[in-house]
Amino acid sequence: MKKNTWVNLGFQVGALVLALLITTLILVAAGAPPLKAYLSILSGAFGSTRNVVAVLITWSPLLLTTAGVLITFAAGLWNIGMEGQMTLGAIFATGMLRLFEHAALPPALIIILGILAGILGGAIWAALAGALKTFGGVNEIFGGLGLNFVATALTIYLVFGPWKRPGVGSMSGTQPFDQALWLPTLPGTELSIWSLVISVLVIALVYLLLRGTHFGLRLKAVGKNSKAAFLMGVPTWQYSMFAFLLCGAFAGLAGGIQVMGIYHRLLPNISNGYGFLGLLVAMLINYQALWAAPIAFLFAALNTGSVQLQIIYKLDSSFAGVLQDLLVLLVLLGEGARQRFIKKN
């Protein structure tokens, strides 16, 4: 192995060990025995078929949002607006289901229409962020954040307004869909095999797109140096817009799956933070699509398994988030330190 490889490895492992050590210290400070706490996370995530299913349910939308941001990151864009795009996907999917709920159409067709509507909703919302950047000069971070707020406000309006449950005004959500319009799940579980298959296919598609296609190469060129790419004949703004559209479509798909497969209704918090979590996963894997699936799975397992920490040790449920954030922060810090070290030597 070359010297640089060992250096890289050292910094990465150091960051990971440091993250775990800090987490361990937090556990000790909270009065939880660290080893048992870690084991309880494992048990909470993999201790039973039901728990594994819960991990897979969380994994699926996370994989979709991660796939989306990998595209925009490749184009050099920070699509912070994933939450809003996911929300719009949920709104469009809900709208489609409500539209055809009582129509004489096969439920499967309505579900497919719902999924397509979700994709469309997310893409439209992402296109807005892209247009703000491309034609309005608004940084995509600010544009995305603003659109997130608008999406939330729109959901609240619908949940408390035209789509409210009869006689009810609550953020608990809209009237649940007819059971025939729920995404089919594995018997005895809430896991939709369709959402799982779609998510895996999407991440595989993104991997192939970024690694083995002319499009991917050009997209990366735009991301690395937009000016140079333009001079080389790449239509840069079109590529940026396409990256937004694709990312929004995946986020919208995730939103559609949330309403049709998990909650069976529209909620104000339907995005559940998956957009931001997808950003963390993408940063942790250094934007390499190959690692998206396992690391997203690790995050999903942490989210699911750490519920046990609250049950057993009365630790706050945000513990999983602390560990995830620490991992990302320290890996990024480690990467910065590594680059400085290599420059000096």
Partner: protein
């Protein structure tokens, strides 16, 4: 290079686990008891008679009985969740060897549990040995039923639900489910009376949570109590009493989603309302009243849900109508322990011989320091009238749209009260979301 990340992540995890094995003395771990699920399915039977007036007898079990609780808010929120948590602790005290597990902040789309529904979280409790799970909010109503139907060997209690009320609109056969609620309507009437006796402007605000059957009937009960004391005790004209309800959209503040209850309370106090009755799970009405008082305003508030809630701002607190879940929870858990469980529904009344008896009364009212001695006496007289059979849910009563709700002399049935379709005539505020 990145191919090594996972490998080393696992190695690092293993390293920390080895290191941490030398850490501090482990605290006891709550382990699941190795008790089998109920051997037989609980049969669907007639609802049992309410047990609120029966003093619970301590029970002992041979094996530990683990029950779980999904709390909509924090277990120490000084509101609804703490009241129901205390009910679980009461069960632990009364049934030897019983053990409560809980998860807090469980509500639809809670960021605490991304992508996990209440029924999935209930499954996590079951994985730690829970044989019975309390779903403690109407926000989990659908999930409670879904979980009960998918897990026939686990007992489910839907707090404030009506799935198992045979006379109710939503009756569903779910043999392993039992729904329970306290008749808070009485204590809201008491709260309304305290507000009416105290207000100097004749303007009472009701800080409402979300809008549904439960919250409509509780707000209406407070109005009925206020109106009665305003007209019958103070002998004032009902036209001079203003009673306004403002809903925030959920049981507590969710920034960016609900209206801010602090702002809503401030709006009341800044627009001439000098008494605010809280209908939400948290304490903003009291906190803001205390601030307003320090700014020189003569204002008061009534707390809700939790017996010690006045402690947040004792001097401006007129009192707190509260839930005392212990006796009801105990009676339900005991049937699960001794095998006599049946599907059922309880809507438990106060023990009128002593509404604050922790062993017998499902709901109670604790007076606050803000209530004057004179008004305290009048309030006692009102409570005595209620205990003696005074029924304020009696016609003539119209709904907010002026349609007849109860004809002159007609008393409301439980169904009419539970499913109150609108606020009552004389109340200001939305009956349904707009």
């Amino acid at each position: 290079m990145r191919k090594n990340v996972m490998t080393f992540a696992l190695l690092a995890m293993a390293l920390v686990m080895v290191l941490s094995a030398c850490g501090p003395t482990p605290t006891p771990v709550t382990q699941a008891p190795a008790t089998p699920p109920p051997a037989t399915q609980p049969p669907a039977t007639q609802p049992p008679a309410p047990t609120a007036t029966q003093p619970p007898a301590p029970a002992a079990t041979a094996a530990p009985f683990v029950f779980g609780m999904l709390l909509v808010g924090p277990h120490n929120d000084q509101g609804w969740s703490q009241a129901t948590y205390d009910g679980g602790q009461y069960v632990e005290q009364k049934i030897a060897g019983s053990k409560m597990l809980y998860l807090e902040n469980v509500y639809s789309g809670s960021p605490a549990y991304p992508g996990q529904t209440a029924s999935q979280l209930a499954a996590q409790l079951v994985s730690q040995g829970a044989k019975l799970v309390f779903f403690n909010s109407d926000d989990m109503k659908d999930e409670a039923l879904k979980f009960a139907q998918a897990n026939p060997n686990i007992y489910v209690v839907g707090v404030s639900d009506d799935w198992t009320w045979k006379d109710g609109k939503n009756y569903t056969v779910s043999a392993n489910q039992f729904d329970v609620m306290g008749r808070m309507e009485y204590m809201k009437m008491v709260a309304g009376c305290a507000a009416a006796l105290t207000t100097q402007t004749g303007k009472i605000g009701f800080l409402g949570p979300l809008i549904n059957d439960e919250t409509r009937r509780l707000a209406a009960s407070a109005f009925l109590g206020a109106k009665y004391c305003w007209t019958n005790v103070l002998k004032k004209d009902a036209a001079n009493l203003t009673f306004t309800v403002t809903w925030i959209g959920f049981w507590f503040n969710i920034p960016g989603v609900t209206s801010d209850p602090s702002q809503v309370a401030d709006n009341f106090y800044n627009t001439g309302y000098d008494v605010v009755i809280s209908g939400i799970d948290t304490t903003e009405a009291l906190v803001q009243a205390e601030k307003a008082k320090q700014a020189g305003k003569a204002v008061w508030a009534l707390a809700y849900d939790y017996k010690s809630n006045c402690g947040v701002a004792p001097d401006i607190c007129l009192g707190v109508p509260y839930f005392n879940w212990g006796p009801a929870y105990l009676s339900i858990v005991k049937t699960a322990v001794d095998g006599s469980w049946t599907q059922g529904f309880q809507w438990n009344a106060p023990d009128w011989t002593n509404i604050n008896n922790p062993d017998t009364s499902a709901v109670g009212f604790n007076k606050g320091n803000g209530l004057s001695a004179d008004n305290s006496t009048k309030l006692d007289a009102f409570i005595a009238e209620l205990a003696g059979g005074l029924n304020l849910w009696k016609g003539p009563l119209n709904l907010q749209d002026k349609s007849v709700y109860l004809a002159d002399g007609a008393a409301a049935t439980d169904l009419q009260i539970w499913y109150l379709p609108q606020l009552l005539e004389g109340m200001q505020g939305d009956s349904v979301a707009k």
